[in-house]
C-alpha cells in the first residue's frame, strides 16, 4: 500500500524529526529532501500517511511527527544501514579487550563506551547467576561464627556471601565440605542447584553425618535471595539533554525506573529470549514506567552460549541507524573478547 513516494516522504519525515525534534512540514520535505514536487503535493501524501497511522500532528496547524508505527516501518524497511568510522571501531576494540578479565568490568566498560559514543543511555544485563552452570564452591572461615561462601560459575561469574554458622568450623572441615558440594553440583545451573540442595536436605534430614547437612545448609543460605540479575546503567544523565525530557516529571519517572532496576531486568530478559539483535519502539516496551522510549539491544555470547544483553535506551526519536551500528559492533566485539578469553 505504501508506494515509493509514500516511503520517501515517510523516510524524510522520520530523518528530519530525528535530527531536529520539531514537527516536519511539507515545505521542508519538498525543499531539502530533493523531491521535485511542490509542498502541496507532499501535503496530500502526508495526509495519506496520517490516515494510515504512520505520522501524527501535534495540533491542527503543525507539521507531522512519526508515530511508533512510523518508526517501526522506518526501521524495518526504510532506514539506511550505516557503519561506524574505523576510529570508533578501534576505540571500542581498545576498551573491550580480553585482558579485562571479569565480565562485570567488561560490562562497565561497554556501558561507558556506548553512552560516550551516543547521546543515549547504555544498559547491560550481566550473566544471570541462576542460569550459569555451577563450577565449584569454596568455603573460607571468617572468625568463629561466619563462613565466606564463594561460588564460581563457568561463565566466569564469581558470587560471594558471608553466611553465619551455629558452631565453629575448622578450615579442614570446610575444605571437605567444599569438595563434597562441588562434586554434587558441578555442571548444573544454579537454579537446579538450589532445588537440589533443598531436596537433599529434606531427604537427609536425619543424616548421621552432621558435616554434610551443614554443607548443604551453607549452600542453601548462600543462594538465598540472589535471583536478582545485575543491570548496568550508564549515561543516564544525558537524557536530560533530550527535548522530550525537558519536563522534570518525565525525567524523574525515568530515573525512578533506572534506580529500581527490577523493571529493567524484566525488559532485558525479554530481549534475551530472541537471541538476536532487537529493536523495541515506544509502546512495544510493555512497561508503564518507560514511556516514549525505544531500546536497541543485542545479546552477547561466550562461544555459543548467550550470557546477557547490551544496548542503548533513548527517546523513540533516536537515531536508529547509528544506534544499531553501535550496539551491533559493541556486542560482537564483546562476544569476541569473551570467547577468546575462554579459549
Amino acid at each position: 500500500m505504501l508506494n515509493v513516494r509514500h516511503q520517501g516522504v515517510l523516510r524524510a519525515i522520520v530523518q528530519d524529526y530525528i535530527r531536529t525534534a520539531e514537527p516536519v512540514g511539507s515545505r521542508i520535505i519538498s525543499r531539502k529532501y530533493g523531491f521535485s514536487l511542490s509542498p502541496a503535493t507532499i501535503r496530500t501524501t502526508m495526509a495519506d500517511l496520517e490516515e494510515w497511522g504512520y505520522v501524527a500532528q501535534p495540533h491542527t496547524s503543525a507539521g507531522r511527527v512519526p508515530t511508533d508505527k512510523g518508526y517501526r516501518i522506518y526501521v524495518d524497511a526504510l532506514m539506511d544501514r550505516i557503519s561506524l568510522t574505523p576510529a570508533e571501531v578501534e576505540q571500542i576494540e581498545q576498551h573491550v579487550t580480553p585482558s579485562k578479565t571479569d565480565v562485570d568490568e567488561l560490562l562497565k566498560e561497554v556501558g561507558k563506551l556506548l553512552s560516550a559514543l551516543s547521546p543515549y543511555v547504555a544498559i547491560a544485563l550481566a550473566p544471570r547467576l541462576t542460569e550459569s552452570r555451577f563450577q565449584r564452591v569454596e568455603f573460607v572461615a571468617l572468625g568463629r561464627d561466619r563462613v565466606l561462601v564463594i561460588l564460581l560459575s563457568d561463565t566466569g561469574l564469581v558470587h560471594h556471601k558471608t553466611v553465619p554458622v551455629d558452631e565453629p568450623l575448622g578450615q579442614e572441615d570446610l575444605e571437605r565440605m567444599a569438595r563434597y558440594l562441588t562434586d554434587l553440583m558441578r555442571g548444573r545451573t544454579l537454579a537446579e542447584v538450589r532445588d537440589l540442595l533443598v531436596a537433599e536436605m529434606a531427604a537427609e534430614k536425619a543424616l548421621y553425618d552432621r558435616m554434610l547437612t551443614q554443607a548443604l545448609s551453607l549452600g542453601v543460605k548462600a543462594l538465598e535471595g540472589e535471583t536478582e540479575a545485575d543491570v548496568y546503567v550508564a549515561g543516564a544523565a544525558q537524557m536530560a539533554d533530550q527535548p522530550e525530557f525537558a519536563d522534570i516529571r518525565k525525567m524523574k519517572a525515568l530515573f525512578v525506573a533506572f534506580e529500581e532496576k527490577s523493571k529493567l531486568v524484566i525488559l532485558l530478559n525479554e530481549c534475551l529470549r530472541g537471541g538476536d539483535l532487537r529493536i523495541l519502539i515506544g509502546q512495544e516496551i510493555a512497561l508503564e514506567e518507560i514511556q516514549g522510549l525505544s531500546v536497541i539491544v543485542s545479546p552477547y555470547r561466550r562461544r555459543d552460549q548467550v550470557l546477557g544483553v547490551v544496548g542503548v535506551l533513548g527517546p523513540t526519536r533516536m537515531d536508529y541507524g547509528r544506534g544499531l551500528a553501535l550496539v551491533e559492533t559493541t556486542a560482537n566485539l564483546l562476544t569476541r573478547s569473551l570467547t577468546e578469553q575462554a579459549a
Copy 2:
C-alpha cells in the same frame, strides 16, 4: 552581636523557608511565630540580619532567604534537636540487623532507609579496601590461564579479581602460594601490602623459587587499579521534587556528579577524617559539581575502627533537625550491628 530577637527572627526565617521554599516576609514572622512585634519592627531586625550576611533578598521587594552563613548559625546554635519516633527507630533497627552479614548489603539497606525516611539523597562510603587490614588471600584456578584471587580484609570486605597467568598452575601450587602470601601480609593494610609486594618483587628478582615470584606477581595484579572506593547513592530521583531543582540543567549537573562517583568519594573521604558527625552547608562543600547542597554525614564503626560514612545530601534548604536525627540514629545502629557481628 546577635541579640535574642535577632536569633528568634533568624530561626523563624530559616524554619519557614525550609518548610515553604518561599522567601519569608516580615508579616509572616510577626503573625505566625508568636513575636508580639509588628511587621515594621521585624523589618528593622531583618535589615540588620541582611547587613550581617545571614539572610538575603532575591530581589528588592521580596522576603528574605537564609544564606549559607545563616544556615550555619542556625545549625550550630538555633536549631532544636529532635528525635525520631519510636516507630521509625524500630524500622531502622529491623533493617539494620547483624544478620545481614556483608557490609555492602548493610550499606545498600541503609541507603534505602535513609532515602525512604527523608526526601533527600542517601549516600554511603563503603570501607576502603586500601585502608583495611589484610587478613588472608585465596587462589582458585580458573581454566588453564586464569586465577581467581580473593582478598579478605578484617573489615569483612571481600575483594576478588581474575588475573591472567602465563602458565598453568595446579591447585596445590596455588594453595602453597596463598599460604606464603597470607603469612607475608597478614595484619598490614592493603596499601602497605601493595608497596611491600612491589618491593619484594624487586628484591627477589632473581629468586630461584619461581613459585614465590609468581605468587607476588599475582598479588600485585589483583591490587592494581583498585584504589577507588565504593560509594552508594540511593533516592537520587527524589531531588526532582525539590523546587530548587526544577531547572533541568541543575538536575542534570547533579546526576552527572552522582554518576561519576569519584567526586563524591573526595567529599566523603573529607568527612571521614573528622571521625565525628558533620554537617557541610552549601559552599562549605568544595566541589564545583555540587552547588546549593548540604550534607549531613556520620562515620560508622566496627568497635573503635572507623570504616566509612553514611549520610544524606539535600538542598541547603533541607530539614537539618530531622536529617541530623536520622543520620545519627542510622549510623549508631549500623555501628552497633557491625560491632555485634564481630563479637
